[in-house]
Symmetry: C2
Subunit: 309 residues, 2 copies
């Protein structure tokens, strides 16, 4: 039995990143790259994105080797989307230095033959109207999830709220959830997003892991305590990739218990991403390594014994 298919739409970028541990320029980045590198460890991934003529197609050889379908990757005349960011010692706070949309400016997602039947859909943090264009083209996915960012919360709230009503799950950073809901309480923020339609909200907390809220409860997945976090870029998208990758690989109903396990997969994969710059660690990451860390998570989160013992 093969895994179900995953469709991802979002950005592929050239990143400049500076952290207290080093500096890289013009390296592969973008939400779609991170998501795909993570999810393709589990299931077949179909990519919808755009790159400029300055990015060689061989960039994606490592993804092709993992069976990724790149027919939806448009190549446009011009320069690839670029992003520059800096992190201080508090690696939870990103300081965006520049954003050059370039070929992304005129991008509209076109789904190649067969993509519309994908079982799982991840709309990375692109403009909410583009997310809607993707969702409207898709037929009956088993699960759809969208991510978003502060820019759309500030400038495209109406469209964002509409998109939230079209998906099964919303993922966003804790600080973005607070901003969106205008409250310091993440529990209240999650409730307000759930009221817009999605069945679950995934709050990403950086080096403090992630929390999932549903109508009936919540689940907390910590981040893997690492000696060194070299570059937090892409942690959230790799988390989403591991999360959805596991769901696509899983056969059977998506119960709360399956979603909890998927969160641990997400945290396990993301813990590798941040160990090196760009996608360097994800490129050579193996399932056996993720499996080892998955087991570690059980060891350091589960406690035995009753209240009195």
């Amino acid at each position: 039995m093969t895994a179900s298919s995953i469709l991802v739409v979002g950005s592929v970028a050239y990143d400049d990143v500076e952290t207290p541990f080093g500096k890289v320029e013009h390296v592969l980045g973008g939400s779609t790259s991170y998501f795909t590198a993570a999810a393709s460890l589990y299931a077949p991934v179909r990519v919808v994105s755009v790159i400029g003529s300055d990015m060689p197609l061989s960039t994606f050889d490592f993804l092709r080797e993992r069976g990724v379908d790149l027919r939806g990757l448009q190549v446009a005349e011009g320069k690839t989307f670029r992003w520059g960011g800096r992190y201080d010692y508090d690696l939870n706070a990103t300081d965006t230095l520049f954003t050059e949309l370039n070929v992304y400016a005129g991008f509209h997602p076109d789904l190649p033959e067969g993509y519309a039947d994908s079982d799982f859909i991840f709309c990375a943090n692109i403009h909410p109207v583009l997310q809607q264009e993707v969702l409207q083209q898709c037929r009956r996915p088993r699960l759809s999830m969208m991510d978003t960012m502060n820019l759309w919360i500030e400038t495209e709230r109406k469209a964002l709220v509409e998109t939230m009503g079209m998906v099964d799950m919303v993922s966003l950073n804790e600080s973005e959830a607070r901003m969106f809901a205008g409250t310091s309480s993440v529990v209240t923020a999650a409730r307000r997003i759930l009221a817009l339609g999605p069945k679950a909200v995934l709050l990403k907390k950086g080096e403090n892991g992630a929390v999932m809220f549903t109508e009936t409860g919540f689940f907390v997945a910590p981040a893997y305590p690492l000696e060194e976090v070299r570059d937090p870029t892409g942690a959230g998208d790799s988390f989403a990739g591991g999360f959805m990758g596991y769901l696509a690989q899983h056969h059977g109903e998506i119960t709360p218990s399956v979603l909890h396990r998927a969160m641990i997969h997400g945290c396990a994969v993301a813990s590798f991403t941040v160990e090196e710059f760009s996608l360097d660690r994800l490129r050579r990451l193996t399932r056996a390594e993720v499996e080892q860390r998955y087991r570690d998570f059980r060891r350091f989160t589960h406690f035995e014994g009753e209240f009195v013992e």
Copy 2:
């Protein structure tokens, strides 16, 4: 079989606290008050501290009712220790507005008859030399733990390092651990503290829970996701109280598994503390309520199933 005894030494204070949810003045505070209110839900607690003649002894009636031994509470002519703090919407960051040592200035811990045989010892965040005075008076405790704060890290580093070498466990805030070890990595910081002698380091992470590091591994306990955190004051000391209270109540060897369970008790108790100002919630907290939340922790942290399923 009765629970083992706990000795706590630290401050009793009048606090002024301001948070986005309200403001209180001249309310009961201090590390010892919070610790004792939490630990006394589990085991007999002996208190060593000092108050001024402005604090009525009836203040502690609710602790006496829980069997707390207050013979070590000195009453000195003058004003009780006072602390004023403010929290912004980011309730993890405390802004200390004032500290008035008052009767605390000349305080030295004197252990009444019998206290020196206590099984468990908690030195709250007082001057490291005072902590040493307590530890030197005690005979063979089963487990000793010290807390500390940024002030001593900055001004009394030598004494602090000595005290760390005298205890079984060190608890401190994540940011203080980073400051102490001069690194952004909490894993590295914990390793450096372990190298000074203690067998375990408890890093408190505010609304992100706590992590324990030992030579052989770590355990992560998240905070209970709360709709509203009204006042984070005392969360760390109530955590320590629930943690040590459970250990004192537990019969048998203190294994890693027992320590993990104790951390969940600490997080469960602390989650109540922050729901109201001062010790208001702790005053009327029952074991049944803590037990319910302990069960909740298992539900929202444990995941079932293997890597591939």
